[in-house]
């Protein structure tokens, strides 16, 4: 009983903390929009030229599948912040001193995640009910056929996502932006495997299971149905309808979906086992504390500054005993010294961006640079540029959020003209990171005298930096950029979608219209970011 009470209060406090934030309101607004999109047919489910008549069962199925599909990706990014928040607010330090067990804590957090996603699911279930009457094809409202697909498909998905988000958070190296990127690839792997193989072990969204069951039913009922399923616009006109009254009780289907709830429980147990109770020195993954000893970066800097240091020592500046003198007088500062130097701020911003990266980050970056130098212009741009500009994603996602995350906002915003001086420097540093990372591709384009390609390269660099800054400033977290960027990256540059390819990886996307669009978007986003920062400064 005591455990249940602890779990209830843990999940409740966490849930209330989240639902009182604007981000939860935005989640619900997103859910309402998704509901609308399904009702008006943007996410319509069709089987070749067939679709179901919009009765309770069919509308429920369409909405439940859309919910499962979108919450399985977006939902992860929405809820993956609960353990991190306890770390940032230091509430975790307090919880660590209480008798609460690791399993209780992890389970409580998973329940809270589940409740947040469940709230979005509830909104969509209501939207489904409204959608049936909106469509006006069948006014007989049946609650169970409408809810059944939600329980069968959406519920296991949100249980799985809720548990997996906690697991990612208790593993230190998956807690941040790297985990967000890793999840995207895991999601794509599971989704594609589920669709291709229809195996229970990877089909966590349940599309394969739903498709198999409905196709068996359709083959039996519709003689001219030759197979094929589509979400959204398939290109094939949907001209025929069928009446579908819902899934019957199927032990196989039920066990396929219960399997994922079982997986969610195993993930929670694994997360509890790995959870370090907010002690970075304990737990399975011991976090290397920031060492008081100089790192290789510092050793390099020390080597460079040896002469200056020796000089300083000669002047007694480094004398420890002197430093403990009771009173050291500060010399007055010559007013002429207070002269703004844009290059100094830019260099400082660049150093701030790149300093936090580990040695292996630079090794991979150098590898990508060499690979892109070794590849001819067109091939390098098409195949390598997407990877070259994926690698610094965590550098860009920190843009616009660093001040709030490290609580340096009051120090920086109280400086004169920070909007005019520091902010553009931060943006330009983002552009320079893109240019440096892609310099191999750029050099190849230059050697090939591919001026249009170079222009596309420049527009891409400017657009990425502007997008990162705008999203960082307005969301206050790097997660929004990480999620949006990687999805966009996958659809646009990787699959060379002409309109979404902001890296201009193929000659088809290098049309003047698309270039102009992204250039305009970059300046618009910079303006939006500027407005956001202005709002922060003048709070």
């Amino acid at each position: 009983m005591n455990t249940v009470r602890v779990l209830y209060h843990l999940a409740r406090a966490d849930f209330l903390e989240r639902v009182r934030r604007y981000s939860f309101l935005l989640t619900l607004v997103g859910a309402v929009y998704l509901g609308y999109a399904v009702i008006v047919g943007d996410f319509g489910l069709s089987f070749a030229q067939y679709r179901g008549v919009n009765n309770s069962a069919w509308v429920g199925l369409q909405m439940a599948m859309s919910t499962a599909l979108l919450l399985s990706l977006g939902g992860f990014y929405i809820v993956k912040n609960t353990v991190d928040r306890d770390l940032q607010t230091r509430v975790g330090q307090i919880l660590a001193t209480t008798p609460i067990g690791r399993l209780d804590y992890v389970l409580g957090k998973a329940f809270s995640n589940f409740a947040v996603l469940g709230a979005a699911m509830a909104v969509l279930a209501v939207a489904a009910a409204l959608g049936q009457f909106w469509a006006g094809e069948d006014y007989r409202f049946k609650l169970w056929p409408l809810l059944h697909p939600f329980l069968l498909f959406a519920l296991p998905v949100i249980a799985f996502v809720a548990a997996l988000a906690v697991l990612f958070e208790v593993i230190p190296w998956l807690r941040g932006g790297f985990g967000n990127v890793v999840y995207f690839f895991l999601y794509m792997f599971l989704l594609v495997c589920g669709l291709e193989t229809h195996t229970a072990f990877t089909d966590f969204v349940g599309i394969g299971a739903m498709e198999s069951h409905l196709q068996i039913w359709l083959f039996a009922k519709l003689p001219d149905y030759r197979g094929g399923t589509a979400f959204g616009n398939s290109g094939e006109p949907v001209v025929k309808t069928f009446v579908w009254e819902g899934f019957g009780w199927s032990r196989e289907l039920l066990s396929l979906r219960l399997y994922w709830i079982g997986v969610a429980l195993v993930i929670v147990l694994l997360a509890a086992w790995l959870f370090d109770r907010f002690d970075p020195a304990g737990g399975f993954f011991r976090v290397r504390p920031i060492s008081a000893e100089p790192s290789w970066w510092h050793l390099l800097a020390r080597w460079r500054k040896r002469a200056a240091t020796a000089n300083a020592r000669g002047n007694g500046v480094m004398n420890g005993a002197a430093a403990r003198k009771p009173m050291v007088r500060l010399s007055p500062l010559n007013p002429a010294a207070l002269r703004f130097r844009a290059a100094a701020v830019l260099l400082a911003e660049l150093r701030l961006m790149l300093k936090r990266q580990r040695w292996w980050w630079y090794v991979v970056a150098a590898g990508l640079l060499i690979a892109s130098l070794a590849n001819p212009g067109q091939e390098g741009r098409r195949e390598l540029l997407p990877w070259v500009w994926l690698w610094p994603i965590l550098v860009w996602s920190a843009m616009g959020t660093r001040e709030a995350r490290h609580q340096t906002d009051e120090l920086i915003f109280s400086a004169a003209h920070s909007l005019r001086r520091q902010f553009p420097a931060a943006w330009l540093a983002g552009v320079i990171v893109a240019a440096l990372m892609g310099s191999g591709v750029a050099l190849r384009l230059l050697l090939a005298r591919d001026w249009a390609g170079l222009l596309g390269f420049a527009v891409g660099a400017v657009f990425i930096s502007s997008l990162a800054l705008a999203m960082g400033v307005w969301s206050g977290t790097g997660k929004l950029f990480e999620a949006v960027y990687i999805i966009w990256w996958y659809i646009g540059p990787v699959h060379h979608d002409r309109n979404l390819d902001f890296m201009f990886t193929s000659p088809q996307s290098l049309s003047w219209g698309v270039l102009r669009f992204y250039l305009l978007a970059a300046f618009l986003l910079f303006g939006i970011a500027l407005l956001g920062r202005r709002r922060q400064i003048q709070a």
């Binding site: 500046v317 480094m318 920086i412």
Partner: protein, 294 residues
């Protein structure tokens, strides 16, 4: 140099007034701003540092409205917030170089200034260590150093001695007194001894309102002859706390030495003793609280 605060008020969430009708005029010297927790000190500091805007009233620096033209003040401002962070992967020099560049100080003068400041705050030996490995007190000293980077004409420090060890606290007080000559320094704290050691003026704030703006000497005078001390058994302490404004209670071998602020002798054994600034502050706050309650 003149900082003028005229009828400043700040409301949060549309109904909670953290500050109300606050007015003050300041010239060079150290102003000790004291008040209980939640009195509105940090809100006032943030308004003066142009980090947040006042809901009503205005603040002027040398005649320029800081709400309308904040950059005029920011160029001459040094600010140490109550809660601030650092970039954990930078070392002390790199962090100060970054803030110096943002504040418009770069190149050789910046490096010279940073060396001096690190010496002043006793962080020379730790200057190459990542800030993430610093203790709370060391981070606080980095905060003090960054506030002095641009040799500010207006220095605002909010709870600057929090987390400092006694030696560093004394060191900082001396530094503040040293700096006070040709600049306006506002020291917000609830540690009255910090004000006692450094301030030339005092402002007491409670419930978002200015209770008094005076000199420490004048505040001390207001309780002259009103502070009493006598010895009681431990068992009587609760009753004394209930009946009088207790300023201090020290357990010794002969019993508990209680220190009370009262108009008249609270006990036949009580003897008048010289007041401290803490006695005066408690008396001032308690009188204001009583007035506010009635």
């Amino acid at each position: 140099m003149r900082l003028t605060i005229e009828g400043v008020g700040k409301v949060y969430s549309g109904k909670v007034w953290a500050l109300k009708q606050f007015s003050l005029e300041l010239g060079p010297g150290v102003l000790g701003l004291v008040g209980p927790n939640g009195a509105g000190k940090t809100t006032l500091m943030r308004i003066l540092a142009t980090v947040t805007r006042a809901t009503e009233g205005r603040v002027t620096w040398n005649g320029v409205d800081t709400g309308r033209s904040p950059d005029a003040l920011r160029a001459e401002l040094g600010y140490l917030p109550q809660d601030f962070g650092v970039y954990p992967n930078l070392n002390a020099i790199e962090f100060l170089e970054y803030l110096a560049a943002v504040r418009g100080l770069a190149g050789r003068p910046a490096r010279r200034r940073i060396d001096e400041l690190l010496e002043v705050v006793n962080l020379l030996e730790a200057r190459k260590r990542p800030l993430g490995s610093f203790s709370g007190g060391m981070k606080q000293r980095i905060g003090i150093a960054q506030a002095l980077l641009n040799d500010p004409k207006l220095l605002i420090v909010d709870e600057p001695t929090a987390g400092l060890d006694p030696e560093e606290r004394v060191h900082f007080r001396n530094l503040l007194s040293e700096l006070a000559g040709q600049r306006v320094v506002i020291l917000s704290t609830h540690i009255v001894s910090d004000v006692e050691a450094t301030a030339t003026q005092m402002a007491v704030i409670s419930h978002g309102r200015l209770v008094t703006h005076t000199s420490p000497e004048a505040l001390l005078k207001s309780v002259a002859g009103k502070v009493w001390e006598w010895v009681i058994p431990s068992s009587a302490l609760a009753k004394v706390k209930e009946s009088f404004l207790l300023s201090a209670a020290t357990r010794r071998s002969d019993g508990v030495h209680v220190r009370v602020v009262d108009e008249e002798s609270p006990h036949p054994d009580a003897t008048p003793i010289p007041p401290t600034l803490e006695d005066a502050y408690l008396d001032c706050i308690s009188a204001h609280c009583e007035a506010a309650a009635t």
